[in-house]
């Protein structure tokens, strides 16, 4: 067990280093000159001398590996400089925007959990019944629905027609209800489909036959035996989707005018703020990788018998 975790953590660090290099490289390859962007942000005429001066001050003339190391050092010390997009220190921006996205994503995960587990259980309990068919139809439409459009539909229904909510973000939990639902619904549809087939696959196992033979009711077999055994893939999927939700939140934040990391990232890209973009990307990817690792380790702790590869 310890060996497995150690091995996974080494792999995790390797992927993180790869991720940080890749995001830095993407930004460094950009054909916009950061020194010029910074010098020109005030507007007006800027001479070549000033651009050169900015370049020297920001140490942008240093060779690539040095700039990369400086940036990594900044990630750990929190000193990343000022964002060209918002004129605030990048760390300060992230401190204000990250919690918004986290609240949005956590609430969305809660929705997904509340929707997907009961619905997929019902589908499997009444397999090929009318409810199962309806769910199949709805979920296939759900995975094809663009989330931003769904957001507008919900806004129109609940904010314009019913006036339960305001179109602009509201303080507190209420402001997160519609955005998190928008983020959750397409994902929930994808997850219901996954769970449904995972649970159906379990149904053909011997232990289900045995439980039936003992005279247990179908519902009891489902909730007490099948659900437990289908848990590992479900946990993996949940941890994976945590990362997807963070990435997908950019679109939803834009629809609901929420100020989160996603909309910050898009703003940074549009104003060619290289450092802030790279920082956002590395943080989002870092969360994604960590969530995946956590899922694998939880699975491993829950089901030590699930040795997938012999060389673990």
């Amino acid at each position: 067990m310890g060996k497995y975790i150690a091995k996974r953590i080494i792999g995790f660090v390797a992927v993180l280093i790869g991720v940080s290099m890749l995001s830095f490289l993407l930004i460094a390859l950009s054909n916009t000159d950061p020194a010029e962007v910074i010098a020109r942000r005030g507007g007006g005429q800027v001479s070549q001398d000033i651009i050169e001066q900015v370049r020297r001050e920001m140490e942008l003339d240093a060779p690539m590996p040095i700039r990369y190391l400086n940036w990594i050092k900044g990630l750990f010390t929190g000193d990343l400089g000022v964002s060209i997009y918002s004129y605030n220190p990048i760390t300060h921006d992230l401190k204000t925007f990250l919690p918004v996205t986290f609240r949005l994503v956590s609430l969305a995960l809660l929705w997904i959990l509340l929707l997907s587990v009961p619905i997929s259980l019902i589908c499997v309990r009444f397999h090929n019944g009318p409810l199962d068919h309806i769910t199949r139809g709805v979920t296939i439409l759900g995975i094809c629905t663009p989330p931003f459009w769904l957001g507008f539909l919900l806004l129109y229904l609940f904010a314009v027609r019913l006036s339960w909510f305001k179109v602009l973000p509201e303080p507190g939990l209420k402001g997160y209800l519609l955005p998190s639902l928008t983020l959750a619904l397409p994902m929930a549809c994808a997850i219901i489909r996954l769970f449904r087939s995972a649970l159906l696959a379990e149904l053909s196992s011997d232990y289900v036959q045995y439980a039936k033979g003992r005279g247990l009711s179908s519902s009891r077999i489902l909730t007490h035996h099948v659900l437990r055994n289908a848990l590992p893939p479900i946990i993996t999927v949940f941890c994976q989707y945590f990362g997807y939700l963070i990435a997908g939140s950019a679109v939803v934040e834009s629809v609901f005018s929420l100020k989160g990391v996603g909309s910050y990232l898009i703003g940074c890209v549009s104003s060619s703020d290289a450092t802030a973009t790279a920082t956002c990307i590395v943080i989002i990817a870092g969360i994604f990788v960590t969530a995946n690792l956590a899922g694998d380790i939880i699975n491993r702790l829950l089901c030590p018998w699930m040795v997938r590869e012999s060389n673990d």
Binding site: L26, C144, L153, Y156, V251, L265, A278
Partner: protein, 274 residues
């Protein structure tokens, strides 16, 4: 095979939707009643008339014509992306499965690194580097998704590599290149086609998400996602302008997903597969 597809209502519905969208994309200039980009402020938010069946948008452009031309962008951007992804995926995936352990390990690691980024984030970063334009949106999505395709092909190929016919081909002196082209690829093609079909749906959704965010396409393009973004301020006054483009995206993506799914049920009939 064709008979099985025709017998399955889900496959037919999917094919029908795909056919309609393709037809609309090709014949948009014939059926569009007006120039989709002609701005006429006197017709701002005009109600539907004979000449303008769905009315006009906030700049007085014909809504129906813009929707019809929008099919061109969705299909026109997604097809090259899928073609590139298919070629890269098949080439690297089969190569990785055949080329020996060291190469396989390096490629797998590279794929894992790329998969560690959510696709949307990679694509955003690439567009940030390359700037706007059809070429950069294509490159961005290819860079974001190639690792998934490569990984899937590699998994398919590894299953095939363990089978007897590959061994038989090897024993009868078949070289690696010939083995991949003549034996491996034809045998993984059906499963790969299923993956590709659902890939079209996700690439269409991704393109529209970028257009909605204002990344990748020039302002004023008659792309469905961009049209949604243009219409967002009309939520109170003209919500129908927000409805149409979304329905178009939904139906197009649904066509490919329905067809891909039915195809999978036909090719791989067991219930457990995802």
């Amino acid at each position: 095979m064709t008979k099985k597809i025709l017998e399955k209502p889900q496959a037919l519905a999917g094919l029908l939707l795909i056919a309609i969208v393709l037809l609309v994309a090709v014949t948009a200039p014939l059926f569009a009643p007006n120039d989709p980009n002609f701005v006429d402020m006197t017709k701002k938010f005009m109600d539907p008339t004979g000449q303008y069946p769905l009315g006009c948008d906030s700049l007085g452009r014909c809504e129906l014509s813009r929707l019809l031309y929008g099919a061109r962008y969705s299909i026109g951007i997604s097809m090259p992306i899928l073609l590139l992804l298919a070629v890269i995926g098949l080439a690297l995936g089969t190569f990785s499965a055949c080329a020996g352990e060291k190469v396989d390990r390096v490629l797998t690691m590279l794929c894992d690194t790329f998969i560690s980024f959510p696709s949307l984030i990679i694509a955003v970063a690439v567009i940030g580097v390359l700037g706007n334009g059809f070429k950069s949106i294509t490159i961005a999505i290819v860079i974001a998704m190639w690792a998934w395709f490569t990984r899937v092909v590699r998994a398919y190929a590894l299953v095939e590599m363990g089978k007897g016919y590959i061994l038989a081909a090897r024993i009868s002196g078949c070289g690696t290149a010939k083995l991949i082209l003549k034996h491996l690829i034809p045998n993984i093609l059906p499963q790969f086609f299923v993956y590709l079909s659902t890939g079209v749906a996700s690439s269409i959704l991704m393109v529209s998400a970028f257009a909605f965010l204002g990344l990748g396409l020039p302002a004023g393009t008659a792309e469905w996602g961009a049209m949604l973004n243009d219409a967002r301020s009309c939520l109170y006054s003209h919500p129908e302008l927000l409805l149409y483009p979304g329905v178009c995206i939904l139906l197009t993506a649904a066509g490919f997903n329905l067809f891909g799914e039915a195809l999978r049920d036909i090719l791989m009939p067991e219930e457990g597969t995802l």
